[in-house]
């Protein structure tokens, strides 16, 4: 399957890495240890060792007699020289990281409302309030820059084996051209992260993740014939989401049969209407619970992609949307967010903050019937027998309850126009003790209900269970009666429809 970074057809990554390693040897710095080289090039020591072994066998480098260091052999072709090597990688005060779309997004960001996302400066809302951007997702289409995701390319003969070892999903069932949403856990079965994995070809995958995990993948692949490369900064990602997404995507690209693309399919094409617009990979995925696509593009073609989509979207009501609009949409879709709805076990300081996939509402990603052994399997099998201690549930506070609470202070419910809150608040058994916490909540203008995502004790998780959730009413805190409901709150047929058309009703 041709992939977006066309710079690296199958196998060339190793060549690029070998050349980069070779360039490290200069007359000024003729000797390097394995660990230094691996560190400097972001390679796992076993990968670096393999590549250096080849260079040594080819007579390009040697081993110093007195140590384990590798040495430049004078006269060897290809080695760098002092003249071309930069003297240092000196640090200037760090510039804010910019996504490859930054020139476009910043030109449109009237509100100057920016938010840090993994070190990138990202638009919170383009307009002063997020309403129009949110409604574009549900009513027309929205274009969202989600480039700050971490991206790892996993390639080699054992690539599938590594994915199957790390991930809770069964990657022997993930065909090239498909995307799989999965969890990954530590040995205790505690959730590290969730993310999408694209299978670009038999031996090549692209993992997207909210937090860095290069080391975890590399260590899990110890002794495997696999390369894990961090391509986060090389790839820009745009999410095109909303009922008009297919029409816009079709007009903005060439070479992809969107009619044939199913939910979680992947396809490669070209940007724009003619040839030569630059390669792009499209996945039918998103974080809004709506019809939508995500575009994965090499940084140098990012602006061309943006321009093509914006132009194609002009007649379809396309709006660029910031992170607040995206957050509202994902909450309606009942999609959990790391560091908001759950804490990665890698970053949880105490045990009670760690959850299993089932406890984070991601039990469906755990395939205990899969062939391969995977990290956390034993613990998750025990959990299956015992039952998870916690559950991620949807909470719904109806309109009359809101009226009741606000009438106490002689107001109509003051709930509209607030973006999703990320401040956890307690959830109680009716009139009783705390049984969990509500981590995401807001009033959905589409559903006309106050909704929330909450982690509660297993016994309080059945749909229909009544719970109390704390809400701010004026300066006070009140307990609102809520009902446990199934997630997602909003799930239009167009999200998964074959050959979706703008007419498909939500």
């Amino acid at each position: 399957m041709p992939a977006m970074p066309r710079r690296a057809p199958q196998g060339t990554q190793a060549v690029q890495r070998a050349l980069a390693l070779l360039r490290s040897f200069t007359t000024e710095a003729p000797e390097h240890r394995l660990s230094e080289l691996a560190a400097a090039h972001g390679l796992h020591p076993s990968t670096a060792h393999r590549l250096l072994g080849v260079l040594e066998a080819e007579g390009l480098i040697g081993r110093s007699p007195d140590s384990q260091a590798y040495r430049w052999l004078p006269g060897a072709p290809g080695a760098g020289d002092a003249g071309s090597a930069p003297r240092h990688n000196g640090l200037r005060p760090l510039e804010p990281l910019r996504t490859p779309f930054h020139r476009r997004t910043s030109a449109l960001c009237e509100s100057d409302a920016w938010r840090d996302w993994s070190g990138y400066t990202c638009v919170e809302t383009y307009e002063p309030t997020p309403e129009r951007e949110y409604w574009a997702v549900r009513n027309a289409a929205a274009l969202i820059d989600v480039s700050p995701l971490f991206k790892y390319e996993i390639s080699g003969a054992d690539a599938e084996r590594l994915l199957d070892r790390v991930m809770t999903r069964d990657f022997s069932k993930c065909r090239p051209g498909r995307v799989m949403y999965t969890s990954w856990c530590n040995e205790e079965g505690h959730l590290l992260q969730d993310g999408n994995v694209q299978r670009l070809s038999r031996e090549r995958f692209l993992v997207s993740a909210a937090e860095p995990c290069l080391r975890w993948f590399q260590d899990c692949g110890w002794s495997m014939d696999v390369d894990v490369g961090d391509v986060s900064e090389e790839i820009g990602v745009l999410a095109l989401q909303g009922p008009r997404a297919r029409a816009i995507a079709e007009a903005a690209t060439t070479g992809i049969d969107f009619g044939a693309m199913r939910y979680f399919d992947l396809a490669a094409g070209e940007i724009g209407s003619g040839a030569g617009g630059g390669p792009v990979t499209v996945t039918r995925t998103g974080y809004t619970g709506d019809l939508g696509y995500e575009f994965w593009v090499a940084a140098e073609h990012a602006e061309a992609l943006w321009d093509a989509l914006v132009e194609a979207g002009q007649d379809h009501g396309l709006l660029p949307a910031g992170l607040l609009g995206l957050d509202m949409a994902r909450a309606e879709a009942g999609l959990v967010l790391i560091d908001v709805d759950y804490v990665s076990a890698a970053h949880a300081e105490i045990e009670v903050l760690k959850v299993t996939p089932a406890e984070a509402g991601l039990g469906f990603t755990v395939k205990l019937d899969k062939q391969a052994d995977f990290v956390g399997r034993r613990a998750l099998e025990l959990e299956r027998d015992r039952g998870p201690a916690w559950a991620m549930v949807g909470l719904e506070v109806d309109w009359f309850e809101l009226e009741r609470l606000w009438s106490e202070i002689d107001l109509r419910p003051q709930v509209v126009g607030q973006s999703a809150s990320r401040e956890p608040t307690p959830v109680f058994a009716p009139g009783g003790w705390q049984v969990g916490q509500c981590t995401t909540r807001f009033f959905s203008p589409l559903l006309k209900k106050y909704i929330g995502l909450a982690t509660v004790r297993g016994e309080a998780a059945d749909p229909g269970t009544e719970l109390d959730v704390e809400v701010a009413v004026g300066y006070g805190r009140r307990r609102a009666r809520a009902r446990v409901v199934e997630r997602p709150f909003f799930n239009p047929p167009r999200k998964t429809a074959v050959a979706p058309t703008p007419g498909v009703k939500g």
Partner: protein
Amino acid sequence: MTVEPAAADGIGGGTPSHGSGRFDAIVVGAGHNGLVAAAYLARAGLDVVVLESSPEIGGATRSEEAFPGFRFSVFSYLVSLLRPEVIHELDLVRHGLFLVPTASTLNPLPGGDCLFREADPQRTYRHIARHSRRDAEALFEYKIEMRRMGHLMYRLQRAAPDELAAAIGDRVAESPEHLDVEVSAEVADIARYFLDLSPARLRSFVQMLTMSSADFLGQWFESDVLKAALSSSSIIGSMLSPRTPGSAYVLLHHYMGEVDGVYREWGFQKGGTGAVAATIARAARSHGAEIRTDSSVARVLARDGRTAGVVLTNGDELRAGVVLSSAAPQISLGRLLDPEDVPGDAGAGLALRAARWQSGGCAGKVNLAISGLPRFECMPEPGPHLSGGITIAPGLDYVDRAYDEAKYGGFSERPFIDMIIPSVLDPDMAPPGKHVLSCFVQYAPYELAAGDWDDGQREAFGDAVVRTLAEYAPGIENQILHRQVLVPPDIEAIAGIPGGNIFHGELRLSQLFLLRPDPAAAAFRTPLPGYYVCGSSTQFGGGISGGPARLAALRVLDDLRTADTAAGVGAKTP
């Protein structure tokens, strides 16, 4: 130790009769620990005097205007280990505690490169990822693990070691639910906490007590520059290389530090660290403690097998049934204590062990007055990096070589330097536009194999420091207006610490926990009833902590209560 300090419950509290030289308690030494002990005792109603041999209080916690307009923190330079309970119980903020955070650490590297760690984890990730992406990720998890270890030490620090040992020993032997030894709920809680640790965390703890920091860090990281940067905390104040087994504990010692519950935070006291001592002294005086300088104690007086007071070097006698010494063991258990006075036959052994206490100096201090901000090749312009710590430790080999030179009796020609620029943090420290630079330097042995500190070597050491700085901040040699170079004999002479060891003795397993400062004095009590130790050489010791002195003072109050109860006069105390 678990007794809450009682503000005024009538313990002691005899009518002051200073004219006759009578007190409830005498504290030897007005360093921060001596002052903390005095403050706690005075706060409980005791009539207390602190006796300081030098003309100034503070010990190693001292500031001075060494040159007109330029204030130096002469020795210790940052605050992190100061126990929150000391801050709150003594109300130190009201008495002048003012800590400015130092939020970043810059490690300049040769060739204009650097490693920079900032408060913002995303930015720190990016800085470290330039050297190793794997390490940038690992640092998150390492910090969590170290915070957990720091928290473990925090729990341990709250109890006296003998009680802890009794509790833990008992719990290992018996069922966790029933304690035979009579210990407080708090100690039982600590014991439970310790025994509930996961095997992985217990393994980390054992590793930290035994491994070298280089090996310990090598389990986490691959890049030499990050390992060297993180290993800095493992050698500070210790004649150890990052490659010496045991150095990982010193790493942990510095992770016990916190500011407002945040481990590993450091703060700069406005006015310099001398203001910390002044603050504690104010707290002590507010409760009625008396502090006398130029009062050198010759020895502890004993009568009928009990402490009776002290004799000053001028021959004066001061009487008290309780004496606490904040000095190092060579003084507290050696010079001040006549072995004959110690009941039984413990005295000679005690004195011998005190003489063998490992507390050689290893560090020097170079304080510079400079005409402008230094321009580091890696980040030449002024910026937030100048308000954090700046450490010259570009690689493990570099630090190890610096250690080697000292091991053979020389000072490091290219030393490890941990510096701050106090005048960036507090404009009162230098005239406008000018600055002071505080350089903590390793290694400098107490005694040189060749030459003499007083015969040109002190300045040669200062030159080596400036030369080293100039490798990373070219031109700094021309910015220097004044220079103060202090080596271990100076620390000994000014702060009164034998050997000039900043922790009153190496922080290694052989000198920690029940062995600090001596098996016979590990719970602050010495074999001479009424005589206590309360300085950095006790308990977890070392650093501007006040923790040992607080526990020692509480132990004294507890003992007085018990004695009063036995005598039937302390009916109102439990």
